[in-house]
Symmetry: C2
Subunit: 435 residues, 2 copies
C-alpha cells in the first residue's frame, strides 16, 4: 500500500484508494475508485458494489492507494447473472430516457440501451432484493412522447398487471415529460392493485453522480413493502444519495431542469420516502406518509381506454390576443385548459370569446403551480365562471391536460366532460382551502 | 377589568383585551382588539398602531378584557394627518390590485380605493419613517394589464424619477401579473438611480391577516437604507409578519395562488431582507445580500422606449401540433418564447416548422421554472439550436416575454434582436451552470 496526502482530486482519478473520513461522531473507512468530480471539494468514490459515494474533502483524514484491482463494468459483464426465483418478481419496463443509458468506465463512452443482464450487473443489489425481469418497450426521448404512446404503454403495462406475476412494475422514462406520462397512466391504469412506478434519472450515466441506481432501488424497495397499488414517481428527494421520494403520479412535477431532486410533489404530500443504508441496501427503510394511507385498494382496474388529443394547454400572458380561442375552435379542440394568473384569471377581453365558443369546454388551472383556483374572490373569476369556465382547484395544468384527453376519450357530451373532469380519480384534485 | 378564560375565539371577537403570552424564554404582554381568525388555533389581535398580530392560543397564559375603547378606522380618519417634511420623500404610485383596498372594521366592508391620507391613517408608521406622497395612476386588476400600460407606467414613473424629489418610488400593483410588470419596468427603467419597488398584497384587506401593511413598510425601509437604484419587488418572505424580501424585478415569480410568501426569487438570491421589530418599527433592520452588492450604480437612465407586443409565449406540451408555429407566423408574431421541457426541448416534429419560419426569432426557456436551458446535452437541444433556436439560459419565460417586447421596440433586425435578448440588462440572465 502507498500512502499519499490530500491534494488535488485530479491526481487520484482512476486510482483505487482506501479513505478514512470523519462521519458525524466517529471515523469511518471506505474503499473505492476515485471518479472525476464536478467540484474539488468532494471526492467521488465508485464502490465495489457499483454505487458512487461523495465524501467532502474536509472530512478526509487519511487517503491511501491500494494495489487491489477494481472490477470494471467489462469484467462484471462477463459474469453470468443468476437470480433467485423465489424472490418477488419486479418488471422493469423501459420506455427510454437518460436512465436507459450506461457508462463504460474503461472508455468513458455512453451506450443508450440496456438489457436486463446489464442492469443487474450495474446494480447488483437489485437481485438481492427482487427477481428482476426487463421489458424493452421503446427508446424514446420523452419530449417526443404523445398520447399514442401513453395508450400503448398503458395497454402493454395493463397486460403485465393482468399476468399477475409481478409485485410491481417500474417504468423507466425520460424526465422531461415524465410527469405528463405519470398523470396519463394514473388515469389509464386507475385501480391497479400493484404499484406502477415511473423512474427517471436527472444525470446522464456518463457522470459519476448518476442518480439512476438509487431511483431504481428506491422504486424496488417501495414495491416490496407496499400493500397498495397506484401510479407513482420515484426520484431523489434531495441532493444526497440516501433518500428517494415516492410521489403520486398526478402530483409530480419537474421543478428544476437539472437537479437530482427536480421532482416535487405539488399541493399534496409524498406517499413514501425510501431511506437508504448505503452500506447494506437490505437495511434500508421505507417510511409511509398520509398519502399512502389514503390509497384505496378497493378500486378495480379496467382495460385502459383511448385518449382523444383534442385538448389544448393554454398559458395566459398579459395582453394575449383572445383570437387564439377562435384558432383553437377552428382547429377542432374540444377542451382548453387555461393556465390563468393568480386564483384563475385571464384578461377581461377573453370573456366574450370564451362565452361564444359553445363547442369548447374551458377549464381553469393556475400558473403559480402551487395553490389553487378560487374564482369566487375577484370579479374576473366570477365573470369567467359565468361565461362557462370550470375551475379545477389545485389540479396541475399538465395533469388537467392529460385528464382532458382521458375524459374526451370517454365522452364528447359537455355535461359528462365537466362531471368527469371535476370528479377526482387518483388524487389529482383536492378540496383544500389552504392559503 | 374583566378576566375570562381561554375559550373559543369567536366569543371574544371585537373585544379589547390584554393578553399575557409565552414568548420564547419569557412572558410578554400585548393589548388589542380580537379580530376574526381563520383558525381556532390563533388569536388575531388588532393593535392600536394598526397592525394585526397573531398569537398561538397554546402560548396564551392570561387573557383579560379591558374597558378601554379601541380607536376605529373611522375615528382615526377624522384626524388630520401631518407629515414631517424634513423626512425623505417616498412616492406611492398606485396601479391597483388587492393592496389598494382597505377594510372598515365597523362595517366589515371593503372599499377599493385609497388616498394618501387613508394610507397614512391605516399605516401610521409610514409617516414616522418617511414623508409619503401618493399618486393614483389607475385602479387596474393586474390580469388586465398590457404592454400599453407598462409603457404608460414607465413614462409616468420616469418623470417622477427625473423630478429628483424622491428617495424611492413604491408601485402598488395586483399580484396576478406583478412579476410581468416588474420585468417590463426592469428593462424600461433600467439605470434608475433610486429604488422602484413593486408592492402587492396576497390577502384582500377585508381579512385580519392582510399583508399590505408590512409589504409597504418593508419597501419604505429598503428605500431609506438603499444606496443603489433598480426595480424590485417587495413581499413577505414567509408566513410570519416579521420578514419581507426585496427581490430583483427580473427574478420574482408568483409561485403560490394565495400564500403571503407567494413571490419567490428564482435562480438568483434576494437583494435584501427587511426584518421587523413589531413593537417599534424604527428598530427594524435591513439585511443586504450578494445581489445588492452586484447592483451597478453607474448605469444611466434613459427615457423609456416603446414596447412591441408581437411576442408570443408558447408553453410546449406533449403531442402539441407544430402547426401553431404557422398560425403565429400568420398573426405576425416576430418573437416566440418557447417554454420547453427539461433543458429546453420540444418534440422533433417542431424542428422543421421552426427552421422554416425565417421571420420569427425563436428563444428557449424552461417550463421547470428553476434551472436553465442547456441545449448542448441531448440531441434534441442540438438540433433545435441548429434550426435557429436561441437559448436564454436561466431567464424566466415571463421575463423573456416582456424582454422580447422591449427588444422588438428597439429593432426588427434578427441579429440585433438576438444580440439584445442575450445581453443581460438587469440580472435577467446568468451564466451559472448549477446542477
Amino acid at each position: 500500500m502507498f500512502k499519499f496526502g490530500i491534494g488535488e482530486i485530479m491526481n487520484y482519478i482512476g486510482k483505487m484508494v482506501e479513505i478514512v473520513f470523519r462521519n458525524a461522531l466517529k471515523e469511518d473507512e471506505i474503499k473505492g475508485t476515485i471518479l472525476p468530480s464536478s467540484t474539488d471539494k468532494t471526492y467521488i468514490l465508485k464502490l465495489k458494489n457499483g454505487y458512487n459515494v461523495g465524501i467532502l474533502k474536509e472530512n478526509i483524514v487519511i487517503i491511501k492507494e491500494t494495489q487491489e484491482k477494481m472490477e470494471t463494468i467489462e469484467t462484471i459483464k462477463e459474469k453470468k447473472v443468476s437470480q433467485d426465483i423465489n424472490k418477488p418478481k419486479v418488471l422493469i419496463f423501459s420506455v427510454g430516457g437518460t436512465i436507459a443509458s450506461k457508462i463504460d468506465y474503461n472508455t468513458g463512452g455512453v451506450s443508450a440501451q440496456f438489457s436486463a443482464d446489464d442492469l443487474l450487473n450495474l446494480i447488483p443489489e437489485l437481485k438481492s432484493l427482487a427477481n428482476i425481469e426487463a421489458y424493452s418497450f421503446s427508446n424514446l426521448l420523452s419530449e417526443n412522447i404523445t398520447s399514442k404512446h401513453w395508450e400503448e404503454i398503458a395497454k402493454a403495462v395493463y397486460k403485465k398487471i393482468k399476468d399477475g406475476e409481478y409485485k410491481g412494475i417500474i417504468i423507466t422514462h425520460g424526465t422531461d415529460t415524465l410527469h405528463y406520462t405519470s398523470g396519463a397512466l394514473s388515469f389509464l391504469l386507475n385501480g391497479t392493485n400493484i404499484p406502477i412506478i415511473l423512474v427517471g434519472a436527472q444525470r446522464s450515466s456518463d457522470r459519476p453522480s448518476s442518480d439512476s441506481t438509487y431511483n431504481l432501488l428506491g422504486a424496488v424497495k417501495f414495491i416490496l413493502e407496499s400493500k397498495k397499488g397506484g401510479v407513482f414517481v420515484s426520484l431523489h428527494s434531495g441532493n444526497s444519495d440516501n433518500e428517494i421520494n415516492i410521489i403520486l403520479g398526478t402530483r409530480a412535477r419537474k421543478m428544476h431542469s437539472s437537479k437530482r431532486d427536480a421532482f416535487k410533489s405539488i399541493n399534496k404530500g409524498i406517499v413514501a420516502k425510501v431511506i437508504f443504508d448505503l452500506r447494506n441496501i437490505k437495511n434500508s427503510k421505507v417510511e409511509f406518509f398520509e398519502a399512502y394511507n389514503e390509497l384505496n385498494s378497493e378500486q378495480k382496474l379496467t382495460e385502459p381506454g383511448k385518449l382523444n388529443n383534442k385538448v389544448y394547454l393554454l398559458k395566459f400572458f398579459p395582453g394575449q390576443d383572445p383570437q387564439i380561442i377562435s384558432y383553437l375552435k377552428k382547429e377542432g379542440y374540444k377542451i382548453v385548459i387555461i393556465e390563468g394568473t393568480g386564483l384563475g384569471h385571464v384578461a377581461d377581453n377573453f370573456i366574450d370569446f370564451i362565452r361564444k365558443e359553445k363547442d369548447i369546454v374551458f377549464f381553469m388551472t393556475v400558473q403559480t403551480i402551487y395553490g389553487r383556483t378560487n374564482m369566487g374572490v375577484y370579479s374576473t373569476g366570477i365573470k369567467l365562471k359565468d361565461a362557462g369556465v370550470i375551475e379545477l382547484k389545485d389540479m396541475l395544468s399538465e395533469v388537467a391536460f392529460v385528464k382532458g384527453q382521458h375524459v374526451l376519450g370517454k365522452t364528447d357530451k359537455k355535461a359528462e366532460i365537466i362531471d368527469l373532469m371535476t370528479k377526482p380519480l387518483f388524487f389529482e384534485m383536492g378540496n383544500r382551502t389552504e392559503e
